[in-house]
Symmetry: C2
Subunit: 316 residues, 2 copies
């Protein structure tokens, strides 16, 4: 499929063209930057919601309920799952798949699970670009689901306008989440499975931990109790998400955040490009061979920098 | 204090000079690269052991016991703690501090807790350089302790010759550790507090998870059960650490790993230097202001790259 042809079909709303472009993002196809560059003016309309939290917190079930709710008010929805254990991927239990069926058959819902990358830089670029594609395709909401272990959730939060941290009532979970940096990134906290024993205590624990936090951009993250499987608390969560959006837009924060996101992306793009030009041929060989008689890594680094600047000076 | 004077005192074994240099690493003093460059030929003798795992697993207690054991065989030991809750820092409970006293008063033991940085790159550079300093100071063993949440433990593992993952018997801990990437980095697994209920089950769980792993460089990570508070299992752990060292040296793996570590460090040094030159003045302003009328981040990135290459072409 030619790039132009693919773009034409994408612009006409062909879901297979969107799927193809997402695969190209996943495979780091070299033509992706040019293709998204062309589509970029069509982005900026979708509202990007990130969902993160420990495995088993019920993120997918919650996302599933939110998608249904958004469909009731005729919003077009995209879902990107970066969780390898997500029911949105093939690896899920049959019961989960059946529950998801209603939304997976809806032509205005596009669900995509994407592979996570080893390096965080790689994942982040993928998230941004997948969101850009969903956005340019005309989605009103893009829901990003990621499992909250390691660094990926922090990267996903960076791509989202609103980040929702999903936890379950379990002793020490709030403390663990705090240490893992989840407290820093959550705009809204959900305590799912709140029909469990100990839910009230967990709610108080979480609320008190959050009280120690300073407001970010004038927003104090609320805690919403849900039982996603029974669709309980989901309306309240939707209202809270809407409150956050109103807060972001009325105070110019959304624009500020989006500009910071673009600035980060520019940085990544420039540095990736420089690195590709830097670490080739002799320089890459010298780097890989380590000291090779030099006194220290500092000495080798200086020699390689000099070599690179020299090459630039000689006009490529 | 002048740099040369400081180096002289460092070389004469003045502990305050080491402390001062470690503070300079922590504060990213601009003269640190030159200073470590000078000391670098004196490194390569210390064996670097990384300890990571969830909060409360008893890493500090274990490190404390190992330091005592190494002192019995007259090894000089350095300890670097990157854990803000570590008893090696001021924040610990009195009981912990008393237990540590024996080693903290020993003149051949140097203990230092260091602040963790927000960004992972920053932390990693700090670990390497702190280890290099301890190494050049004449330590035979450098024990690095880090809390196993987020990305920092993966970075620390990168700086260590042998990485020891410390877990406690708690249902699901092995699974959680696996998801957090700890399974990938452990050369040796310690199941501490093995006098607790459920320790045998946790041992079987951990062992079976590890069985799914492929050997790395011909080494299958063993699981050692300890009760660090009672000094139980510590001798077995010491033997296993020695086995790993023998394995690394006899098969040329230590050299290979250290060369890879140097290559990574060269990469970081070169890229950091380029980035400092790249993101200044107008270019940094343009990056921060985002699109500013451009079509996409890709267009801005290309313009900034062109501008940088142009500057290089004009000879600085």
């Amino acid at each position: 499929m030619q790039g132009n042809n693919l773009l034409e079909r994408f612009k006409q709303g062909d879901r297979r063209a969107l799927a193809r472009l997402l695969s190209m993002v996943e495979n780091r196809d070299v033509t992706i930057p040019d293709l998204i560059d062309t589509l970029y003016p069509n982005t900026g309309k979708a509202w990007r919601l990130g969902f993160t939290g420990p495995p088993g917190a019920g993120k997918s079930t919650l996302v599933n309920q939110l998608v249904k709710a958004y469909r009731k008010v005729e919003k077009k929805v995209g879902v990107i799952a970066f969780d390898p254990t997500s029911p949105f991927t093939g690896g899920a239990l049959l019961g989960d798949r059946v529950r998801m069926e209603q939304i997976t058959l809806d032509p205005e819902v596009f669900i995509r699970s994407m592979a996570t990358r080893g390096s965080m830089g790689g994942l982040a670029v993928g998230v941004d670009e997948a969101c850009d594609l969903m956005d340019a395709f005309g989605k009103d909401r893009v829901l990003i689901e990621t499992v909250g272990v390691g660094q990926s959730e922090l990267e996903v939060a960076h791509s989202a306008d609103t980040t929702i941290v999903v936890l379950v009532p379990q002793s020490g979970d709030a403390i663990q989440a705090m240490k893992a940096g989840l407290m820093e990134i959550g705009d809204i906290f959900v305590l799912n499975k709140s029909d469990r024993d100990g839910a009230d205590r967990a709610y108080r624990e979480l609320t008190s931990v959050l009280h120690m936090k300073e407001a970010v951009d004038g927003w104090y993250p609320p805690v919403i109790q849900t039982v996603a499987e029974q669709n309980k608390g989901v309306d309240e969560l939707l209202d809270t998400i809407q409150d956050h959006y109103t807060h972001l837009t009325e105070n110019g924060i959304l624009e500020k955040r989006r500009q910071e996101r673009i600035a980060s992306k520019i940085r990544r793009l420039v540095e990736d490009s420089l690195q590709r030009r830097l670490w080739v041929g002799d320089r890459e060989e010298r780097r890989k061979s380590g000291l090779s008689g030099a006194r220290s890594p500092y000495e080798v680094a200086q020699a390689l920098l000099d070599n690179f600047y020299q090459e630039m000076n000689n006009g490529e």
